[in-house]
């Protein structure tokens, strides 16, 4: 069991090195002829107006929020699914109630017009 995690740990290490090294090497190989015009921020040929970090729509936040809630609830369901064989009927039904609450949540968000892109 721990060996499996050892593999994952080492794989994380390797996987970070693999794309990193070619990027570094290419940085050494590639020409470097920078100029102020070249490093300007791209904006369809115009000079950038104002700061980049302008405010964005709250809509993006709301989708992330809905996702967060679903995500946490789904994590609860994974152990339930693994233990499915050993669960009594009550356990299965309470799991289903849990999913139904999730469904109600989706409907509530739907009715509130959250899922509408405006």
């Amino acid at each position: 069991m721990l060996n499996d995690w050892l593999f994952i740990g080492l794989f994380f290490l390797i996987v970070a090195i693999f794309p990193g090294v070619p990027i570094l090497l290419a940085g050494l190989l590639a020409p470097k002829r920078g100029s102020p015009a070249k490093t300007q921020v791209y904006e369809c040929g115009m000079e950038t107006v104002g700061d980049t970090w302008v405010q964005f729509k709250v809509q993006y936040y709301i989708f992330a929020l809905t996702f967060l809630v679903f995500d946490v609830e789904l994590v609860f369901l994974f152990p339930w699914a693994v233990a499915f064989d050993k669960l009594p009927l009550v356990g299965v039904i309470s799991g289903i109630i849990f999913i139904l609450v999730l469904f109600g949540e989706l409907l509530a968000a739907w009715r509130k017009g959250v899922l509408e892109w405006v």
């Binding site: 929020l65 967060l68 809630v69 946490v72 994590v75 609860f76």
Partner: protein, 102 residues
């Protein structure tokens, strides 16, 4: 092998760093980040106690997963409040949000 004390000290340190963040930061979002660190310290303790003291009793894990749920709810509501306050009052500095003081 790693004794239990290492985990407990690690969690205590993490908790104190989080506490420092909560007490010292101006920005409300940063304060929430500090709270996240504190919650994680709690979770490390819960899992460590489960593993070292009562591996046959699953309670530690159940509590830890509940902490996940609470942390998620707290972040969702907290950040929504901060965003809403920002839209009304144009500030996220916790000291300036003092309408309830009187």
């Amino acid at each position: 092998m790693i004794p239990l004390s290492w985990y407990l000290l690690f969690a205590a340190a993490l908790f104190c760093i989080g506490l420092f963040g909560v007490l010292s930061r101006k920005n409300a979002v940063a304060i929430l980040m500090g709270i996240e660190l504190m919650l994680n310290a709690v979770n490390v303790n819960l899992i460590a106690f489960w593993r070292y003291l009562t591996p046959e009793n699953i309670a530690g894990q159940v509590f830890a997963i509940m902490v996940f749920a609470v942390a998620a709810a707290e972040v969702a509501v907290g950040l929504a409040l901060i965003i809403s306050i920002y839209r009304r009052r144009d500030t996220v500095v916790a000291d300036e949000i003092d309408m309830l003081k009187w």
